[in-house]
């Protein structure tokens, strides 16, 4: 049996975050503003603590003991979650409960523990991050399912609670119901996978499926089950056909929550997707054609690759094409997140030989770009409201030159202009697509980059080129300086990271180490 102490030890980062979330929930309710203002700091300290715990606890023998499908995935994955998590905490600092806190500070309203939301908000944020980390080191299906649920349930609440407006309530409603639908589909997929393999442990499941593949190809339940799971997970990635919620929820939700939604469910979703596809095995499959000849081939079974190919292509096209028509900032960024999911799906399709590494590198880049962009937007406000249209952004250069510069850098990096990190991540992805034999998909990716450039250029145009107009006159910076700090760190990161590119590429390549794919042995190419 699995030695419980080993797996529990591995959970140290999650435990740190969990305890911190409880602490934060309580601190949020204290009467003194000083203590309440401590909450974001506690979150940041907890996240840093989780990274340190991760390093401390991550020893080779524990990994062996934990019998994980992707043993090394956690090391890199959890670090990104924590780092970007810090950025997301910084982006949301200062805008939760701001008007109520100001009212209390000026004494207009008496403090009422019931109305204060800050503590719960950050607690749910930390819980969601914990969920994401759990998904990355799930030894079995149940753990995977719980991890996924732990990611999405807090986000439903965060969307509803952060700002009591009609729009955020509608967003929460849509997000909850469609999320529940998708989870149902995923669950049924898990059930069929269980049915096909007879066990919940991931590694034994993979051995069963590989054995089935060696004999005569996967059973129908296995393939349908995988596809249902994949489609269910598409909701988390905001990939077609499950992407419809994204524009409305991103627009409705308050800005910091939108930032959170555009990163954490995505990384959790992708990690779960890779785990499920890992079970089905990337190689050593054979397709027996009509006259019984067994053709061994690389990569996922044909139907699953075909489905993923279709989902990736459609996601890229619909994401980019949808973005062109938008006038609201958050809605445009929603379509941008859909499109970026499409790009990352290309990495997933290519599989362990470079694809997943490139995908996680792109994920890091995407995370940094999200923090940078949302950091700038969170740092601005107009008459107390969030800034959500290109007109109000116009002429940012005149009033806030540094924020305009950062927005330009992140927009150009999203477009893929070379010296910035976004472009280099995309170049590695395209290169790996060629390597994995997906030349047409690489072509589709490049074409979509061109289409995407249209709406990203609007950010650049608004920030630097267009002159100030009536609406953008009233835009001022938020008193709280954390979003600005996040934006500066992330923005400069986009410029500085290319220098460390080789180290990052090697780090993201380690995510796949240790994934022993028996099929590989069958295909006579051992993979260490």
């Amino acid at each position: 049996m699995v030695d419980m102490s080993q797996t529990v030890a591995l959970l140290a980062p999650e435990i740190v975050l969990f305890v911190a979330s409880m602490l934060v929930a309580v601190l949020g309710l204290s009467r003194s503003t000083g203590v309440r203002s401590l909450v974001p700091w506690v979150c940041v300290v907890a996240l840093i603590g989780s990274i340190l715990a991760l390093d401390a606890v991550w020893t080779p023998e524990r990994i062996q003991g934990a019998r994980l499908l992707f043993p090394m995935l956690g090391k890199y994955g959890k670090t990104i979650v924590a780092l970007i998590g810090i950025g997301l905490v910084a982006v949301s600092a200062g805008s939760i409960d701001r008007r109520y806190e100001e009212a209390v500070a000026r004494g207009r309203a008496s403090f009422d523990a019931l109305r204060v939301v800050r503590g719960e908000y950050y607690a749910f944020l930390l819980l969601s991050l914990t969920g994401a980390m759990l998904v990355m080191s799930a030894p079995d299906l149940i753990w995977l399912f719980l991890g996924l649920e732990l990611v999405s349930l807090p986000t439903y609440i965060m969307v509803a609670v952060a700002r009591t407006g009609r729009r955020s309530m509608e967003a929460a409603m849509k997000y909850f119901f469609l999320g529940a639908l998708a989870t149902g589909i995923t669950l049924y997929g898990f059930a069929m996978l269980y049915g096909a393999t007879g066990t919940m442990q991931l590694i034994p499941m993979r051995d069963v499926l590989v054995a089935q593949a060696a004999v005569g190809g996967l059973s129908t339940t296995a393939i349908v089950g995988t596809i249902l799971t994949v489609l269910g997970l598409c909701f988390k990635l905001a990939a077609v056909p499950m992407h419809f919620y994204a524009p409305d929820v991103y627009e409705g939700a308050p800005l910091p929550v939108t930032a959170f939604l555009s990163f954490t469910p995505k990384i959790a979703g992708f990690s779960a997707l890779i785990t499920v596809l890992g079970i089905v095995g990337w190689s050593g499959h054979a397709m027996v054609d009509h006259d019984g000849v067994r053709i061994a081939y690389e990569g996922l079974p044909q139907p699953i690759t075909a489905v993923l190919w279709m989902v990736a292509a459609l996601t890229m096209f619909l994401g980019n094409i949808g973005g062109i028509l938008q006038t609201s900032l958050k809605r445009t960024l929603a379509y941008s997140s859909i499109a970026n999911s499409g790009y990352m799906l290309v990495g997933v399709i290519i599989g362990p030989k470079g694809g997943i590494g490139a995908m996680y590198l792109f994920m890091l880049g995407y995370g940094v770009m999200t923090v940078a962009t949302f950091g700038v937007l969170a740092a601005l406000e107009r008459k107390g409201e969030e800034v959500d249209s290109f007109e109000s952004l116009a002429g940012l250069r005149a009033s806030h030159p540094w924020l305009a510069f950062l927005l330009t850098v992140s927009a150009l990096s999203l477009i893929g202009v070379p010296p910035l990190f976004g472009a280099l991540a995309k170049i590695v992805l395209v290169f790996v697509a060629f390597e994995g034999g997906q030349a047409t998909l690489a072509g589709v990716l490049l074409l979509n980059t061109a289409i995407g450039a249209v709406y990203y250029l609007r950010f650049v145009g608004a920030a630097v080129v267009n002159p100030i107009n009536a609406k953008s006159q009233e835009v001022v910076t938020v008193s709280h300086r954390w979003p600005k700090v996040a934006a500066v760190v992330a923005g400069l990161g986009l410029i500085v990271l290319p220098a460390f590119l080789s180290r990052l590429v090697d780090a993201s390549a380690t995510t796949v180490n240790g994934y022993i794919d028996y099929g590989e042995t069958v295909a006579s190419e051992s993979k260490r």
Partner: protein, 733 residues
């Protein structure tokens, strides 16, 4: 066709013929002929820069041209029979592969000096100096304003002409070719505030450019066939493979012709020369009468070995020359502006020169160039003096009896002398040179050109008529004149110092010494131009000096064969012409029963005298008859076209405009519209808007209702599941 190569091979058998050049580095000082004008143009630029207000630029230019003339005189002494190649510095030379003949292209700045070059440069620099002196006074009213620009351009012109004539390879010739094009553009457009002058300059440059394209393509062809563009190497290559039947070799002469006709204003491309009269008169005299327009003749003379190989090309040159002469003469008869008449007469005389080249006498053509340069410059300069004095008046109907006007007596006498020379009055220099051309026309082997001889004689008569039409109307008859309206600069300063008050009375003022001296010198030159033929006539021993010059150059095949046998053999005395190569005497061509020379001599003088008498009667004795004749011709529809045609220059300009310029303009507008609307707005913006359009198609899916999203999501999942089950799993196992 067979005759040509035979003649060529027999001549080549001679000792060191005039084609094998040898390098002569010691003659580097010959480069002065180019360097001096270039230096003077740079100095003029400096004067312009420093806003010099004096006549310094004129002095600089005259000094430079004088120096160049001296260099050429010195060269005249030193260069012997064999041509000399002097390398100044390397310009373009690229080699690849093993550097053999076809693996490299060299075109360095070097000079190819043989007798023809010196002969040509003699009158170019000589006339250039005199005309520069003339212009120094003529342009004095623009001293502060455009003086430096004028003399800078004249110096550039002389430098370019030097490159053209003395250049050692075809690319240097091309450099000179376009250089003179630039100079003529700057000089024609000198009065740049006048739109007609700017249009004329632009027209001149573009028509020349069309010719230049022909020349450029010819250059490519020559390199492709013979592997080199250096003259020295080219002659050897031609000797080695004289007549290759490939179309490229055949096409070379035709393209060279296109270039020559563009520059020397022959039939298809002559339209720019009459308009070029917009420029100041010294420019017309120097460039558009004496030097630049002869560049075409020089090109064909220099490239004669290529032409000899292709008799059809020669015949074409002859015919184009003949027809141009005829056309220009007819137009010249019906014009009223004195400079335009001399312009058409230049075209006509150039037609003669090409006729001469076409029928195979490069000597005749060169001699005519030599004589024509002098008397045509004289005519233009006298016209200029008249225009200078009469405030821009040039209409021959408004000027009369200038011989008796005080101060214009010398100018008129010289003008009359020029007219006699132009009309080729017997025993004038032009008479001998034209005689040479017509004789060769009659005695040419290729019988297709014999008819041109008769056309030549007809044109001689017409020339005589229109020359003396101007002469009698303007210089003879009662004294009456009206001042021109053109308020040229120099006109204001007339009024400035005009003593008596009542401005109605207009007193023309005669030219001062700076105009009179060059006129006299050029007149003497015109007279002396005839000296070589006088000597042959009187001493029967001396061969014509010009003939020896042309014989000792690459155009030697064009020198009449009979005298070539012995370079210093006795001149072809009018009767006993000993032919060396053919058995039967003088090709057996007897014209009207007489020997060719005597026949042409008599017929030519007859044509000239008839022409003079007719114009004497019509334009001096009874001036009314010309108008009466015009009315009668206009009266009947059948003959109306003659008058209208002649006066309206046969509508050639309008024809070009309609057939070439207008359609091009329409096509250009269509293309511009295509580029703006179809290509840019249509396709590019269309593709740009495509994603947005597709986006709008998917827009209704985002209706906002939760159920709507759920339906599409569930529909998507069902679709995928169905697709997988039906298509994949059924096939797989």
């Amino acid at each position: 066709m067979i005759a040509a190569p035979a003649m060529l091979s027999s001549v080549l058998a001679l000792a060191e013929g005039p084609l094998d050049a040898h390098a002569a580095p010691e003659l580097r000082w010959a480069g002065l002929a180019l360097l001096l004008p270039l230096a003077s143009s740079v100095l003029c630029l400096l004067c312009g820069w420093l806003k010099v207000r004096s006549k310094l630029p004129a002095a600089l230019t005259i000094a430079a041209l004088g120096g160049a003339f001296a260099t050429i005189l010195r060269l005249q002494g030193t260069v012997g029979e064999t041509p000399v190649v002097v390398n100044l510095f390397d310009w373009i030379d690229l080699t690849w592969g093993d550097g053999s003949r076809f693996h490299g292209f060299t075109a360095n700045v070097d000079l190819y000096i043989d007798r023809l070059t010196v002969f040509w440069m003699l009158f170019v620099t000589g006339l250039g100096t005199l005309i520069a002196l003339y212009a120094s006074e003529y342009m004095e009213s623009d001293v502060g304003k455009g003086y430096t620009r004028f003399f800078g351009a004249v110096s550039i012109f002389l430098f370019a002409m030097g490159c053209l004539v003395m250049g050692g390879n075809l690319v240097m010739l091309y450099l000179g070719w376009e250089g003179v094009g630039l100079a003529s553009y700057l000089l024609i457009g000198y009065y740049f505030t006048k739109p007609e002058a700017v249009a004329a300059a632009k027209k001149a440059f573009i028509v020349n450019r069309i010719g230049d394209l022909g020349l450029a393509l010819a250059l490519f062809l020559i390199w492709q066939c013979y592997g080199t563009v250096e003259y020295a190497a080219l002659w050897k290559a031609i000797e080695a493979a004289p007549a290759s039947s490939e179309w490229t070799a055949q096409a070379i002469p035709w393209l060279l012709m296109l270039g020559a006709f563009g520059k020397s204003a022959q039939l298809p491309l002559y339209v720019w020369l009459p308009d070029a009269m917009e420029g100041p008169t010294p420019v017309s005299a120097l460039i558009h009468a004496a030097t630049m327009v002869t560049a075409g003749v020089y090109l064909i003379a220099r490239m004669f070995p290529l032409f000899v190989v292709n008799p059809d090309a020669l015949a074409a040159v002859a015919w184009v020359g003949g027809l141009t002469a005829l056309l220009a003469a007819t137009i010249g008869m019906a014009q009223y502006d004195m400079k335009r008449i001399w312009a058409y007469s230049t075209i006509s005389q150039l037609g003669y020169m090409f006729l001469g080249l076409g029928v195979g006498t490069t000597f005749g053509a060169s001699y005519h160039v030599f004589t024509h340069a002098f008397f045509k410059a004289l005519l233009f300069l006298t016209a200029g003096a008249v225009m200078h004095g009469f405030a821009g008046q040039l209409d021959i109907r408004k000027l009369s009896g200038l011989l008796k006007v005080p101060g214009f007596r010398l100018v008129s006498v010289l003008a009359v002398l020029g007219c006699f020379w132009l009309a080729a009055f017997p025993f004038t220099a032009a008479f001998f040179s034209k005689d040479e051309i017509l004789v060769s026309a009659f005695t040419a082997k290729d019988d297709r050109v014999h008819l041109l001889g008769w056309i030549g004689l007809l044109v001689a008569a017409l020339t005589a008529y229109y020359t003396f039409r101007v002469c009698f109307r303007v210089f003879f008859g009662p004294v009456k004149f009206e001042p021109g309206h053109e308020l040229h600069g120099h006109d204001d300063h007339d009024h400035a110092h005009d003593a008596h008050a009542h401005h109605g009375e207009f007193h023309p003022h005669g030219p001062r010494w700076a105009i009179r001296v060059p006129l006299v010198l050029i007149a003497i030159g015109a007279i002396l131009a005839g000296w070589p033929s006088y000597r042959t006539m009187l001493h029967h021993d001396e061969s014509n000096w010009v003939k020896t010059q042309v014989a000792q150059s690459s155009a030697f095949q064009g020198v009449a064969a009979e005298s070539h046998g012995s370079l210093d053999g006795h001149a072809a005395s009018s009767h006993a012409s000993a032919h060396t190569e053919d058995a039967h005497a003088d090709h057996g061509h007897l014209v009207l029963g007489m020997d060719a020379h005597t026949a042409v001599g008599r017929l030519g003088s007859l044509a000239c005298i008839v022409g003079i008498l007719v114009s004497l009667y019509v334009h001096l004795i009874n001036r009314g008859t010309a108008d009466a004749l015009r009315r009668t011709l206009m009266g009947t529809v059948a003959t109306r076209w003659i008058v209208v045609g002649a006066e309206r220059k046969w509508m050639v300009d309008e024809f070009y405009d309609w057939v070439i310029r207008l359609p091009l303009r329409v096509i250009a507008n269509i293309l511009s519209a295509i580029d703006e609307l179809l290509l840019d707005a249509g396709i590019v913006n269309g593709i740009g808007a495509l994603p947005a359009a597709v986006g709008r198609v998917f827009r209704p899916l985002y209706g906002g209702v939760v159920q709507g999203y759920a339906v599409t999501m569930a529909g998507g999942v069902a679709l995928v599941a169905a697709w997988v089950i039906w298509i994949w799993l059924r096939g797989a196992n």
